[in-house]
């Protein structure tokens, strides 16, 4: 058999063999937890971790948290797309770069992947993608020669940094092509000043337990900081703090936000039944017997005003 036919027969295996190591796009220091995750997976596989960093300042940190080789490139995602990674991780906000690169490499991609694992015998990448806003997950195995995932650093542990780790900064001559998306300057734009409470992703809800206007002002500050809508129970409406359309309750609005912060709301049945579809509830109330505290994921017994004052300084 001549060599051409042999390499043709082996073509698929050979192309698979070209894809090697775990590569991570690190456009900013915020994506360093991805390198830690790559290190964890590389240790079980016995392969190298390459980090592509957006600025040379991050190179040492990337090595400390687990990179063996560091490449500096202005647009890490595009540099990575020009390599042959067996596994490639992008931060979740660069999902479109990851998707383009995956299509280019005929690779499968899990976006916003959770609980990543690698099957050591088949080298498939296993992960979960949240659906219906995180109600549950679809599990998937990526089986192509190159395997891509985007990860949210917020859901990864803070990586262990060892300043004594050794790694190498590999120079490159890569020049990124000009971005196709032409930036035309800042936009004076707010997506929607008001959204109905049922559709809000985050709600800060106020009640009589906030005591006075000063307490309400603190709650407003928290809402602004979190990008949340303001709501409340019937008692807040009676005090004139919120309007009729902001009342949460089965006689007002039933809500299903990702985050619901109840401040000084006692939590009668009419209110609590309207928040059963909220994904995460935090409640603050001075009375340890307030029913709201038993339906919250995290409950705080304390004066809402005092807790808020401390919380706002911590979030500043």
């Amino acid at each position: 058999m001549d060599m051409d036919a042999l390499s043709h027969l082996m073509g698929e295996d050979l192309s698979a063999a070209n894809y090697a190591d775990i590569w991570v796009a690190v456009p900013s220091a915020g994506a360093l937890p991805l390198v830690g995750e790559a290190r964890r997976l590389a240790d079980s596989l016995g392969c190298y971790v390459h980090a592509v960093v957006g600025s040379a300042d991050t190179a040492d940190q990337a090595i400390a948290v687990g990179a063996d080789r560091v490449h500096v490139a202005a647009v890490p995602g595009l540099f990575l797309a020009a390599q042959t990674p067996e596994f490639a991780f992008y931060p979740v906000d660069r999902w479109h770069q990851a998707a383009r690169a995956a299509q280019q490499h005929k690779a499968g991609l899990i976006t916003d992947a959770r609980s990543l694992q690698i099957d050591e015998s088949t080298r498939a990448l296993l992960g979960s993608h949240p659906v219906y806003g995180g109600e549950y997950f679809v599990d998937v195995a990526v089986t192509s020669p190159a395997k891509f995932a985007t990860l949210d650093p917020r859901f990864l542990p803070e990586p262990y940094a060892d300043p004594g780790r050794s790694g190498e900064v590999v120079p490159n001559e890569y020049v990124a092509p000009p971005p196709p998306l032409q930036d035309r300057g800042p936009a004076d734009f707010a997506p929607q000043a008001w959204r109905p409470l049922q559709k809000a992703r985050r709600i800060v809800a106020v009640g009589r337990g906030l005591k006075d206007e000063a307490g309400l002002a603190l709650a407003r500050q928290l809402a602004e900081k979190l990008g949340a809508e303001l709501g409340g129970d019937r008692s807040a409406q009676d005090l004139g703090w919120i309007g009729e359309d902001q009342v949460v309750g089965v006689t007002g609005q039933e809500v299903a936000p990702d985050l619901y912060v109840a401040l000084g709301i006692r939590g009668d049945t009419i209110h609590n039944a309207a928040i059963v579809r909220a994904k995460h509830v935090i409640a603050v109330h001075a009375n340890p017997a307030a029913p709201i505290l038993d339906v919250a994921d995290e409950a705080v017994v304390g004066e809402p005003q005092e807790v808020l004052t401390q919380l706002l300084t911590r979030l500043a």
Binding site: A102, Y136, S144, F155, R184, F189, H280, V300
Partner: protein
């Protein structure tokens, strides 16, 4: 201007209950609706005007969504109905949509939704852009087209920016970025009584090869977040713990 809008039908989230304890999704009310941001993509297309074609992959549910889109004002609807397409993942769907673009003799703009609620398929938009070698923009608001380019507003690192792409391009429209119109009653009747309102295409009609539709991922079922333990009382450094929780939320 010729615009292709990619649509997806999904199980109405209001009609399902996720039981974390039983590790199961219960369908109480089987009802198919538009993927929410796809409806915003269609509305954005209708506002731009011109020759609007809608396309969806699937069976009866996809056909119903296409009919609704025709009732809202889309000029033509293509249903991609084929077993090979039903098994395809994001890679195959992007290739199929590329074939649709060629089948239509090219288009100026492809619009899709920026989020897909029930599957990991928001990646189809940028994948299609890559397959066509066109520029792509995500999470677009206020989409306008003029002089061979599309102008839009998008967020970049938490800041709103004006941006533009040279046509042809693929743009993913942000959820809630506009208020989709309701179809006129007469339009609904016209569309539902017209047997030719939705054209059906197969993989063979589009000249798609097996390699182009080859799945690169395997579904492995579903998993569920841990059951919520309610009523956990915080003590100690309350403000610090709350700040951590809120930063991660």
């Amino acid at each position: 201007m010729k615009i292709l809008v990619v649509l997806r039908a999904l199980q109405d989230p209001a009609g399902i209950t996720v039981n974390r304890k039983a590790q199961k999704v219960f369908v109480n009310r089987p009802q198919w609706v538009f993927n929410p941001s796809d409806r915003n993509a269609l509305e954005a297309a209708l506002r731009l005007g011109g020759d609007i074609v809608v396309a969806a992959v699937g069976g009866a549910a996809a056909e119903q969504v296409l009919r609704d889109a025709r009732a809202m004002g889309a000029g033509r609807a293509l249903l991609l109905r084929d077993q090979a397409l039903a098994d395809a993942d994001a890679f195959g769907l992007a290739n199929a949509l590329k074939a649709v673009v060629h089948h239509l003799g090219g288009v100026d703009l492809v619009l899709c939704g920026s989020q897909v609620l029930d599957a990991d398929l928001a990646q189809v938009g940028p994948r299609l852009a890559q397959a066509l070698d066109w520029p792509f923009a995500a999470n677009a608001h206020a989409v306008q087209a003029a002089d061979g380019e599309v102008a839009l507003i998008t967020s970049r690192r938490g800041e709103w920016r004006q941006a533009a792409l040279t046509l042809p391009a693929v743009v993913a429209v942000a959820p809630d970025s506009n208020k989709p119109r309701l179809p006129a009653g007469q339009q609904i009747i016209n569309v539902y009584t017209d047997p030719g309102a939705v054209e059906t295409l197969t993989a063979a009609d589009l000249g798609l090869s097996e390699a182009e539709l080859q799945p690169l991922t395997e579904p492995r079922g579903q998993s569920f977040p841990a059951e919520r333990e309610l009523g956990r009382r915080l003590d100690g450094d309350i403000a610090g713990q709350l700040a951590d929780i809120l930063r991660k939320a």
